[in-house]
Symmetry: C2
Subunit: 584 residues, 2 copies
């Protein structure tokens, strides 16, 4: 061992002990007669001191040659600091160095290895191994590890078995695009990398495994949007002989365990909301319920007053922004511009101020009397000092637009404290969604999701209205997990494939093995999966998942550090019996 | 929940309780007036009873319609059994069924779901989900999970951080063949699947992560030998600021923890053996030390007696098989035939019997007096009743052949009890091995392995003699883990690449990012990796790793259950800008 202690553990308890430390040179303060060095490792920082009165001239000379990020080993004695630093655990002591060994030199790093670095994103990704030395990055990776351990221990204690499912599987055109892997031993054939272990976990249930989980890499060859990775990690789970309630209970327990660890408090029963209510009240299937501004629909109060925009609208709906009646015209105009941006796409917005003097005024005073406006404020439960925004238009679109405004105001008003946690189950999702483009239904969750028993009859008549036994776990406005009760009856599964437009042959080719398995006694089962990267980010009060991945890829799917993907040798292609067919 | 209890937990404590169970119909015994059913789930078996005196006619009728592997739910009362079964935990009770619900029917499964099944390997693989219902398979997967949990908790307690390294990386021609993944977003370029996270874990050390581990899937596109899988799982570990001794200590502790859990005893310090001694004494770098039969070299006792075979041999070496002097001529001839098989390749074998009557005789009495033979038996430390086998020839070959014989005799004599565990560190491996075919050195471990400091000078003069700071952990004659102290000096690493025949350009293209990272303060580091599939198999007293993989592939790399790999759609190939180039 190159050290007796780490750089995070020495204190006055170790006074006068002879110790050995190793680590990286973080900073050097050279006053000529004295040199202080901050020595860093994963565990912290310890101050080293070289002093011409107490250190040999040779040692002083050696110390002067050190540079940032040199890897050194020192032997010395723990002494009390004259000027203590209360901000770090080792701040009361320093090491009077007696022997210095340079284990490895370092070029000047391309950016400073400090909490606030001068390195841009691009550069830090190229030198990710240096970026990881910085506390903000290192701490996130350690946090991720701790969460994974907690999840594994919680689920193991609940009798779940982690089973590794294969990575080299079969390509299925349903869902997102697969990454494929040519098989050299089976020329012309390809494996696919799993988008999720969905079918394998269902097969494990048919295999009697009863309670399965896995923290597992999944893959999607999609055009990358910001903060989407081609490989990502799921906590994947499945249970047999259960109903929806059992699944919610287990994973509520798991999430509460993580939250308690982080927030230091019990979270009790998580609230639940139907998809329908979420859309109606928040315009969003993953509402952030840390703050209010619930939607209020006012069609009956605003129509028939000759305000054509409202008269023509399918829905007029608004939110009450408490205490913001003193917003200036400029502030309001800025918000109106904000909702008109193409990303939101609203055509405009009406405001109503319930002023502190009791007067109610609005941007549509021409059409509505103060009496009319008061009725609206009453419906909102607004009080003096509140500001109401109203939006109108197509029902679905206006809800989405108003939701965007609500979230933006939540951010601006500081109502989205990342250290506050508001978990929420959203349940009763629609089974299907109609796709205008292909003119057919898509499974909203996936094709194995069970309709609610009371809605099965709708499959014949109005499939779009059938609800599913599907549920999402939402945390602070982010979907962190989702799942469903599965179909376990082969006839119902067949019917689902029909509804989704699969031919018998396609269904057989893609899911034949699962359909076949259903013939041999499939138990009732249900499950869910958490997006682990996102879960960890949000639990840590952050929304950028990339920061929680040790070696992430950029938006073109490239690892700029190792320079992958890259060309491969012609012999490799030959062995795979493949040829490039480049279009440009 | 479809049950109040599992099928493994009811006992006389629950007498007269009304309970609900779910599971699969394991067996049906229908006596007409009474029907007994064994109901199975992951947790055990509970006997159900239907009795025409106590059950309704309708219920009897329903029960008669059940078949094997039907999934059912029953409500009933716990009653005491008349004839108890002491072999199962629930053997003192049975359930008088009051209500029966068929949750799912089952076709007759293609093989019996019992500990001893009538299903052949091929069939069981095709219906792996049914095979997993069988205890021997299910128990192995649960065992694997428990071992993984223990490993994770042990390493986490030791301050190791599990970091997920990427699966989509860069192809390097060194080592085994990579699986590659065409990148649609970067046409003509490919990712590779990792053969191990070697470079990433070294980068994590450079990144200051200090103690890293990961239980991780790795991939090798090799021609599959029996029991080799294209995807396999490693416990991958790396530590910084450590020397070999520190690594051995940590992972000895980890292995001892697993062994203690299984064997119920402390294992103390693991013995250590140099590679040289292992080869000399056992002809093998992974000796099974559960039994003796150490090699004894007898050149000086057998040469110069006109026995040409021994006179011409580079090495004459043997083993003493205790208590086997009464082997018949037939038994011995059979063993001689065994070593002559092409898999072993010996040209013959000499035997010496130290008979119970004190007489020493041999197959080469013509050349050696009883006096000569006695001297040999003395060197072996043989006693009355022992049998010595001698083999001769080229030093390396004869050791390998004798090692095969030793292992075979160990098996035949029952000296390799799978429930007995003998861990062993083999250390001081050679750094390089000469490859006749390519006429150059290969890294015995890998190109990042550090030579022993005292052997560095040999790299200039006799590289083949340089020893490495490399170590294997051997358990019962199997290598379960291996690792090394790494080179952390960029100049030494450069020299190694030279020795291994890399051009500067190749080294740069393949390992440029690692070499570059070495410039920024790489700490001393070392690590190792366990083959998790094999480790688990051996800990469970088995050597077939396939049994410990939920969904293994066959020897052609196929998953016969899902039928992968398979053809992909032309559009998929087009999107990837690839064309098939099939040779036949």
């Amino acid at each position: 061992m190159f050290r007796t202690h780490t750089n995070g553990e020495l204190s006055l308890h170790h006074l006068n002990e002879n110790i050995t430390l190793s680590g990286w040179v973080q900073t050097i303060r050279d006053k000529g007669f004295m040199i202080w060095i901050d020595l860093r490792d994963r565990y912290g920082i310890t101050q080293l001191v070289f002093d011409q009165d107490r250190s040999s001239a040779a040692l002083m000379e050696e110390a002067k040659k050190l540079g940032r990020e040199f890897v050194i080993q020192v032997e010395g004695k723990v002494i009390e600091r004259v000027s203590k630093n209360p901000n770090i655990p080792t701040g009361e002591i320093e090491i009077l160095v007696e022997k210095l060994t340079v284990l490895n030199e370092s070029q000047l790093p391309p950016f400073t290895i400090e909490d606030q670095t001068d390195g841009g994103e691009e550069l830090r990704m190229k030198y990710r191994y240096l970026d990881i030395r910085r506390n903000p990055v290192k701490d996130k990776l350690i946090f991720r590890h701790k969460m994974a351990q907690k999840v594994r221990n919680y689920l193991s204690d609940q009798n779940f078995i982690e089973v590794e499912t294969p990575v080299l599987i079969k390509s299925t055109p349903e869902g997102a695009r697969d990454f494929v892997v040519p098989s050299r031993m089976n020329p012309g054939q390809f494996y696919a990398l799993p988008q999720s272990p969905q079918t394998f976990k269902q097969l494990l249930m048919i295999g009697g495994m009863d309670r399965y989980f896995q923290i597992v890499k999944c893959f999607r060859d999609e055009d990358l949007r910001a903060d989407r990775q081609p490989e990502f990690t799921q906590i994947d789970c499945e249970m047999a002989f259960v109903e929806q309630e059992d699944v919610l209970e287990i994973f509520e327990g798991m999430t509460a365990t993580l939250l308690k660890d982080i927030a230091g408090k019990e979270f009790g029963k998580f609230p639940r909301m139907t998809f329908e209510d979420a859309m109606k009240n928040y315009g969003n299937d993953k509402p952030d319920i840390r703050f209010g501004m619930k939607f209020v629909e006012v069609n009956e109060l605003v129509k028939g007053k000759d305000f054509k925009i409202f008269d023509d609208a399918e829905l007029v709906v608004g939110i009450n922004v408490e205490g913001c009646a003193d917003y200036t015209r400029k502030q309001i105009d800025e918000l109106i511009d904000w909702v008109k941006r193409p990303q939101v796409g609203a055509s405009g917005m009406v405001w109503i101020k319930f002023q502190n003097d009791g007067v109610v005024t609005s941007s549509v005073n021409k059409f509505y009397s103060e009496e009319d406006l008061k009725k609206i404020t009453e419906k909102f439960g607004a009080k003096e000092g509140d500001l109401i925004f109203l939006m109108s238009g197509n029902e679905n679109k206006v809800r989405t637009q108003l939701s965007a405004l609500r979230m933006e105001l939540g951010n601006r008003l500081g109502l989205r404290n990342p250290k506050e946690f508001a978990p929420l189950w959203v349940i009763d999702f629609p089974l299907l969604e109609w796709d205008e483009e292909t003119g057919r239904y898509h499974a909203m969750h996936h094709p194995f999701t069970s309709p609610k028993p009371e809605d099965v009859h709708l499959l014949q008549t109005e499939p779009g209205k059938a609800r599913a036994n599907a549920y999402d776990l939402v945390l602070n406005g982010n979907e962190i997990g989702g799942g469903s009760v599965r179909i376990f009856d082969k006839d119902l599964q067949s019917k689902m494939f029909d509804l989704l437009g699969f031919t018998k042959e396609d269904a057989e080719a893609q899911f034949g093995f699962l359909m076949n398995a259903f013939k041999f006694g499939a138990p009732p089962h249900a499950g869910l999966a958490f997006g682990f990267d996102r879960l960890v980010a949000i639990l840590d009060g952050n929304e950028v998942i990339r920061d929680y991945i040790a070696f992430p890829k950029n938006n073109s799917g490239r690892d700029v550090m190792i320079d992958a993907p890259s060309k491969i040798a012609d012999e490799q292609l030959n062995e795979l019996e493949l040829r490039l067919n480049l279009k440009s």
